[in-house]
């Protein structure tokens, strides 16, 4: 038989089976149960996709399996949740990070001059080391006497306790500006020292053209202005953010999470992953260690407790809306869809998943960056020969992947309990999704995520209805993965190597 007809026949067969299965389940479960299970399946699928999208993006270009992805998902949730309920921590830390960033961003300006210096070989070797040590010292001094925990822990309410008060009521007075300014200043100095060290003074093998510095000055200058601003408003800002409209605040926390994820991903890629590209297995181990560190850091800052993020007002009012218009008007917490009651926040998660999918598709197929990434997957050497900085593209891709994870995290935060292990189950499912869909294929990731979500939701439904073991639903995703891998090792949408 002609392979094309064979493929077509198999496709028709699978489609027919699928339709029959859906019709069978529909007839068996009845409309109401079917629709509500369908929506919980879609929600789960969206959540899986949010994790899998970043994983598959990173794997596709860099062949890096990021085992810290679940932790980054969790970190995104924590950052967004902090901004939404208790911005003291964000505003307390902002001057430090911004000042440090401003210092580091000076690198492209000073590099051309530093590498042109004529210094002895010994000094060349010693200078970066000395600068790194000094930078570390400055960093430590900047935090001496600064109580991070009290900023992070201000009036945190765990999900287990019910008392919810004004989050800022317990806020202890912060340091006066007259002494506080020294901290961001030290951070800036630390960043500058790192800029000096990383530009390798006197090293003639390095290359950096002397271009007009006008454009390069923009970034550090902007960061410095932001530092000054955030230093001034570090106490008052939290309150004004909390007084904001809840929906706006939620939108802002999503933006903040994504931005944080992007910067965090870029920093991780440049400092930790880039030196390890020559040893791919070690990247995997590194991300494993990284996930430990992130998880423990979060537990250190916010205690190993489970928190509940309240839903934004658009999804919070009790009552059932009969139509989407009514929901948007009243902000009801549930909505009636063909007789089934569906929480409106689930609709938001589904919409977020689909929006992410469209965004990824758009970026990958319609923009210049996407073109470069796709070319980089096929032949990185050739792309480099074309004059594109593949290293920088790698950084951007990793940062994008982490930003997607953070977006998923904050999107899921009002829906899932916020706790240090919240990302881990989703990471496992995300990895399975990526394998089912084919590594590096984002369409595959979407289809795989939806298949897994449906399998979980309907598995749970049937387990409950037929009083089977819930282990069946839990194991169903693994079973699907094993079947897919053994019949089509490259995944549903993966290309054969």
């Amino acid at each position: 038989m002609n392979p094309k007809t064979k493929k077509l026949l198999i496709g028709i067969l699978i489609a027919g089976l699928l339709v029959a299965a859906v019709a069978g389940v529909y007839a068996y479960a009845g409309q109401r149960a079917f629709i509500s299970t369908l929506f919980s399946g879609l929600t789960l699928g969206s959540l899986f996709f949010m994790v899998a999208a970043g994983l598959t993006l990173i794997f596709g270009l860099m062949d890096v399996l990021n085992f810290a992805h679940g932790s980054m998902f969790m970190l995104g949730a924590y950052i967004g949740w902090q901004f939404y309920t208790n911005p003291t921590f964000i505003f307390g830390m902002a001057p430090f990070l911004l000042a440090f960033g401003a210092g580091v961003m000076v690198t492209p300006i000073i590099k051309p001059y530093l590498i042109a210096l004529n210094i002895s070989e010994k000094l060349q070797k010693a200078l970066p080391k000395i600068a790194y040590v000094l930078a570390l010292a400055a960093l430590v001094f900047a935090f001496v006497g600064f109580d991070i925990l009290s900023v992070a822990n201000t009036a945190m309410v765990a999900a287990t306790t019910t008392t919810v008060g004004n989050p800022l009521a317990e806020l202890s007075a912060q340091e006066p500006l007259s002494t506080f300014w020294l901290r961001p200043f030290l951070m800036f100095v630390s960043g500058l020292l790192i800029a000096v060290a990383s530009s390798r003074p006197g090293d003639k093998t390095q290359f950096a053209p002397r271009e007009p510095i006008g454009k390069k000055l923009l970034m550090p200058a902007a960061l410095l202005v932001l530092t000054a601003l955030s230093t001034l408003v570090r106490e008052s800002a939290s309150e004004s953010v909390l007084l904001m409209n809840g929906n706006l605040r939620f939108a802002l926390s999503i933006l903040l999470s994504v931005a944080f994820g992007f910067v965090f991903g870029a920093v991780i890629e440049i400092t930790l992953i880039r030196p390890l590209y020559v040893r791919p297995t070690f990247i995997l181990l590194m991300t494993l260690g990284l996930s430990y560190v992130i998880r423990e850091l979060v537990q250190y800052l916010w205690d190993p407790l489970t928190y509940q993020m309240s839903r934004p007002p658009l999804f919070a009012q009790p009552g059932k809306a009969s139509s989407i218009a009514e929901w948007l008007q009243k902000g009801s917490s549930t909505i009636d869809i063909y007789g089934a009651t569906v929480p409106t926040y689930r609709l938001f998660i589904i919409a977020l998943g689909i929006a992410m999918f469209i965004l990824v598709i758009f970026v990958m197929t319609k923009t210049r960056l996407g073109m470069i990434i796709r070319a980089g997957v096929q032949d990185p050497q050739m792309v480099e020969a074309m004059g594109i900085n593949v290293k920088a593209v790698f950084t951007v891709v990793f940062a994008m992947g982490v930003a997607l994870a953070a977006l998923g995290g904050i999107g899921a935060a009002p829906f899932l309990p916020v706790q240090p292990l919240m990302g881990d189950t989703y990471q496992t499912q995300g990895l399975i999704t990526v394998v089912i869909g084919g590594m590096g294929s984002y369409i595959g990731a979407f289809v795989g995520a939806m298949i897994l979500g449906m399998a979980r939701a309907f598995g749970d439904y049937f387990a409950l209805k037929l009083s089977l073991s819930p282990a069946i639903a839990e194991a169903s995703t693994v079973i699907i993965m094993v079947i897919v891998l053994l019949t089509r090792p490259q995944g549903l949408f993966g290309k054969k190597e």
């Binding site: 297995t281 181990l285 494993l288 819930p470 693994v478 993965m481």
Partner: protein, 384 residues
């Protein structure tokens, strides 16, 4: 896998040093409980002495498990996240038989040889046999899946398989057999094998287990078969060209590693008198992975070192750094991955010459000042 193999070299002279080190290790470990007893004077089965025996028992068992994992990742170049399946499989096979089968059997069919009761011995032998069979079966299962998949995909399917086993073991339907989430507790053991009553016996049994495993694995790694497994890691296509079937040798590696892991699991369930779902989950595999990486991949002594370090870390980091000790541990792990990619033993072997050179220079620095300047320019200072 690692591009520079750090394998054991069959050079004649260092072999001798290694033997001496090995014997010293055995002697030290064998004497330790008695020395501790002399110092503290609390008795062999009491207090500090007993505590340290317990620590060392766990170390011996985990060292064998880490060595068996290193056989896969270090020597075979196979990244598997499902190695705990063998470990937990052995533990559960032992636990289930000892809890649900052995007591009845002992009661109903006493086997006597003259006046001595051999029932327990027969039971233990049968259980050992079953543990071996289960381990071989698990090893074969992973070997079969490795036939179709490579690299990352294989790592993923092993993760999935071990997750599936984990889900099965802790499912509530099997509660009366496996104890579901809480695990299998209260395994009945004969008095002489009971770690709370007769810890010293268990101590020496596990010490012997480690030594025998080490010798067997060393023999295996240095045998022609072991060499082919290493070659398979380096270049599979070339191996096939020469006429070795990579699948056969991978299967051998899987089965051998699985047997040792299964036995380690069995001893671990003797030591804890329980078998828990965690033993079968990916966390346990990752622990072995961390031990192997810390000690040095592709060496047999490395995982033993790694197991010792990880045991120390688990014991003392909590008292030193409080509840958030994994933070320090994670940072340490990242640093090792970044700067000591061959682990402690591997880096030591690579840098041995360098270190010796540096040591000589240091000595020269103290003896005569003028000579010290001369060799400065050429040599790189040791980075350890």
């Amino acid at each position: 896998m690692a591009e520079k193999p750090v394998t054991q070299k069959a050079v004649k002279k260092p072999m001798k040093v290694k033997e001496v080190g090995f014997l010293v290790f055995i002697a030290l470990m064998a004497l330790l409980p008695f020395v501790l007893n002399l110092i503290t004077g609390t008795g062999l089965n009491e207090g500090v002495t007993k505590f340290w025996q317990g620590q060392l028992i766990a170390f011996f068992i985990m060292a064998v498990f880490a060595m068996s994992y290193d056989l896969l990742i270090g020597f075979g170049g196979i990244l598997s996240f499902g190695h705990a399946a063998s470990f937990g499989g052995g533990a559960y096979a032992f636990g289930l038989l000892m809890k649900h089968w052995a007591p009845n059997f002992v009661k109903e069919n006493p086997i006597m040889l003259g006046n001595t009761d051999l029932t327990m011995l027969v039971v233990l032998l049968v259980v050992l046999l079953v543990v071996l069979l289960v381990s071989v079966a698990v090893g074969l299962l992973f070997a079969v899946t490795s036939m179709r998949l490579k690299g990352t995909y294989f790592a993923m399917i092993t993760l999935a398989l071990s997750t599936a086993l984990f889900i099965i073991i802790k499912s509530t339907d099997l509660h009366e057999w496996t104890g579901a989430d809480e695990g299998l507790h209260g395994i009945s053991l004969p008095v002489w094998l009971n770690p709370t009553q007769n810890r010293l016996t268990v101590y020496f049994i596990t010490l012997a287990f480690l030594c025998v495993s080490y010798l067997l694995l060393r023999r295996f790694v240095n045998s022609p078969t072991g060499r082919v497994i290493v070659a398979n890691r380096e270049n599979e296509d070339r191996m096939r060209m020469i006429g070795y079937n990579p699948v056969t040798y991978r299967t051998i590696a899987f089965v051998v590693a699985s047997i040792f892991a299964g036995l380690a699991g069995m001893f671990f369930s003797i030591w804890n008198m329980s078998a828990t779902p965690t033993m079968i989950s990916a966390v346990t595999t990752v622990n072995a992975l961390i031990m192997t990486i810390m000690g040095g991949m592709g060496t047999l002594i490395g995982p033993i070192f790694g197991a010792a370090i990880s045991q120390i870390i688990q014991q003392f980091f909590y008292t030193w750094f409080g509840a958030r000790w994994p933070l320090i541990f994670g940072v340490l792990f990242i640093l090792i991955v970044m700067f000591l990619p061959y682990g402690i033993v591997g880096t030591w072997r690579l840098q041995k010459g360098n270190l010796r050179e540096g040591w000589k220079r240091l000595l020269r620095l103290f003896t005569t000042k003028s000579e010290a300047e001369a060799p400065e320019s050429g040599q790189k200072p040791p980075s350890m």
